[in-house]
Amino acid sequence: MANMPVSEMRLPPHLAHLLAARRLDTAKVSPPLPFLPPPPVAGLRPTPTSSNPRVRLSIQDVLSLPEVELMAVLDAGLPTARAAVAHVSEAACPPCQTALALLEERVRLGGGGRLATTLCGLDEALGGGIPVGKLTEVVGPSGIGKTQFCLKLALLGALPEYYGGLDGRVLYIDTESKFSSRRMIEIGQKSFPQVFRQEGLAQKMAGRILVTRPTSLTDFTKSLEQMKVTLLQHDVKLLIVDSMAALMSLENERATGFRQHPLRWTLSFLKSIAEFSRIPVVVTNQVRSQSNVDGYHFSFEVDKKDGNNCTGGFDSHLVAALGIQWAHAVTVRLVFESHSGHRFIKVAKSPMSPAVAFPFVVETSGVTLLSDEGIDVTGPEITSIRCQGKNVLAQ
């Protein structure tokens, strides 16, 4: 919306001429494609001020410049500047919908609102499956089954609809080179034997899964840019990024000044792709250890800090990588953890699910739930990640 060219906004003529005279147009994307955030630039973009009025204005400038500056840049009086802001705001503001209209649209899409994972208990907890149009995160310690889960999802994305799939292409971004098509076919043969017995179907399914292996963040960024077009042209129905944390750590090796920046841009980009293309986006995340409980309490909770130290000491204290900003931004977070000899999938963050955990194992047919009845988890335990692996060397 904010990238609409000014000629398409229905502004009053005198304002339209004024803004056009200041070259207030958006040169970023052509009209048919939806709004996507621009890639980051190394330096600060020059903003138009009264001293250099030749710099191009954008919608963001009109809305964020102070009134006096805007008056100087537009060379107009205060009422005109205010009227310009009001009209541009009205045009740039996304259309309003009532929640009832959203519900009716969801009902109209039917089952298209979810990607069923074939893990019945998890699907029920998530309200049908992985939500479409939102960012879902799978986080857990290494070797617990995240990639296996993603392989199964990739398969489900490619399967025809009468087998419960999305019947479309799948884009799998593999940063750690963990994608194994042999393993994926094996999962397919064990989980959906009737499908894979048919001649040529396995090849067709596998042919729908596009795997890219970016070696750096700039590669990833470039491929995402090209993906905008790919998504629309090739009817991609699922996007899997495995794993996000590896990409960010690649970038950190070069010690650029913008440590947080690539993450932020990638985050907005993934969210907007999910939303506009109406596809589920699944991202994998790693864990890192946290040695102390710093950064976990508010200032008014200071007196409680000492009490918690001893309880958290026995399990290895793991937290999800990529920070708290990432944790806020994802819509659904599935935590894979292991303790007391079993592995669990926990629905840690979801706008519409209760806090439940399901025990699972990884078999030849991929990730399978041991029980469809979830175990209710109370308190902040739902977000904690525990890993008690077997230490072979200790025996």
Binding site: I59, P94, T98, E124, H261, D294, S299, Q325, H328, M352
Partner: protein, 394 residues
């Protein structure tokens, strides 16, 4: 016999004069010394109205008429006024009337006196949050005409609370609610319609539980107690960048004006709450220039406060957390910085305490800091003691 003594000391244009009026009313009553008010030069211009009120409010027993007769016409400048003596109530009323300055030619300041504000505040209804304990620390619920900021760690229930408020504001007036509509500005995409439907159903079932003799249709006929009607009154905006966020808030004023005029019946249903979920997201993503960010945010908060006051609605902003290095260690704090923390009238922080979710009222102009537990159940935000297990959506 009425004796009146009037002293006018140098009522000339340059002198500063004090007028002392002695009024002897009835013989039985002692003479009363009238209140002498030191008056500034300018204010005599805005005195004619109080003067005329004073003559009517002082009562007939006080024959201040003769003193006031000269004041029925607009007084010449520098002529001092006096306040009628009399009973305390009369004096209080007269004082109040003098101080009562509505905006207009009599009141260039556009101020409102504290007594009027108090009576207005006491008649305001609050938006219930669904949990009695939480309402208790908030003084009854979310206040209208104020901006409330609610922040917390991911997964603690900020969006749940936001959706609950969007539904609770629509509780009809006869059941103790505001009967208003809601505007929900979603920047993160966490607004899930099925969950809203579930919460609306929960709210309706609670209403029917507390008011068992009501029918499906409320008595005024305005709002049927159906979840679809509740959903139809939530206006949803999906924002994808900070420019759109600013544009939406600028446009909001026009939007509210349009929706105010449409319904002219007595139980006018207007927007009574604006929820922004979350105000932080785009400002953390897209900004390199922190000075610009601070300025844009402060303009945003001023506009929101203006909307809250002008349209008598509540503004609820949901915020994220970040870590800050204070007092030698990293602690959690709400995002967007220190300058933003001054912008909101009230601040509530949601956190985990043991296995329960707690809400901590961190900043409020009239209430003490306090904590209260709450729970997120299948029906929405409720008290901890209630036994509603969170039911999964089928």
């Amino acid at each position: 016999m009425v004796v009146m003594v009037l002293f006018a000391i140098s009522a000339g244009p340059t002198g500063s004069s004090d007028l002392i009026f002695l009024l002897r009313t009835a013989p039985a009553l002692p003479p009363r010394l009238l209140i002498r008010r030191p008056v500034s030069r300018r204010s005599s211009a805005d005195r004619p109205r109080p003067a005329s009120h004073r003559s009517s409010s002082a009562g007939s027993a006080r024959s201040s008429g003769s003193c006031c007769s000269s004041s029925s016409a607009p007084p010449p400048p520098r002529r001092r006024r006096f306040l009628a003596g009399g009973s305390d109530a009369g004096r209080a009323v007269a004082t109040r009337r003098v101080l009562d300055m509505g905006a207009g030619e009599n009141n260039p300041l556009g101020a409102q006196n504290a007594w009027d504000m108090l009576s207005e505040e006491q008649s305001q209804k609050h938006i219930t949050t669904g949990s009695g304990d939480l309402n208790g620390i908030l003084g009854g619920g979310i206040h209208c005409k104020e901006v409330t900021e609610i922040g917390g760690v991911p997964g603690v229930g900020k969006t749940q609370l936001g959706i609950q408020l969007a539904i609770n504001v629509q509780i009809p007036v006869e059941y103790g609610g505001l009967g208003g509509k809601a505007v929900y500005i979603d920047t993160e995409g966490s607004f899930m319609v099925e969950r809203v439907y579930q919460i609306a159903e929960g709210c309706i079932s609670d209403i029917l539980e507390h008011f068992p003799h009501s029918h499906e249709k409320s008595s005024s006929g305005n709002k049927q107690l159906q979840p679809e009607h509740f959903l139809a009154d939530i206006y949803y905006f999906r924002i994808c960048s900070y420019a759109e966020q600013i544009a939406a808030i600028n446009y909001l004023e026009k939007f509210l004006g349009e929706h105010k005029d449409v319904e002219l019946c007595i139980y006018t249903s207007q927007v009574r709450i604006v929820i922004i979920d979350s105000v932080t997201f785009h400002f953390r993503q897209d900004f390199d220039d922190l000075a610009l960010r601070t300025r844009v945010l402060s303009e945003l908060s001023l506009k929101l406060m203006k909307i809250a006051k002008a349209y008598n609605l509540a503004v609820v902003l949901l915020n994220q957390v970040t870590t800050k290095f204070t007092e030698g260690s990293f602690q959690l704090t709400l995002a967007l910085g220190d300058s933003w923390s001054h912008s909101c009238t009230n601040r509530v922080i949601l956190y985990w305490n043991g296995t329960e979710r707690y809400a901590y009222l961190d900043k409020s102009p009239s209430l003490p800091v306090a904590s209260a537990p709450y729970a997120v159940t299948g029906k929405g935000v409720r008290d901890v003691s209630s036994n509603h297990k969170r039911v999964r959506v089928t």
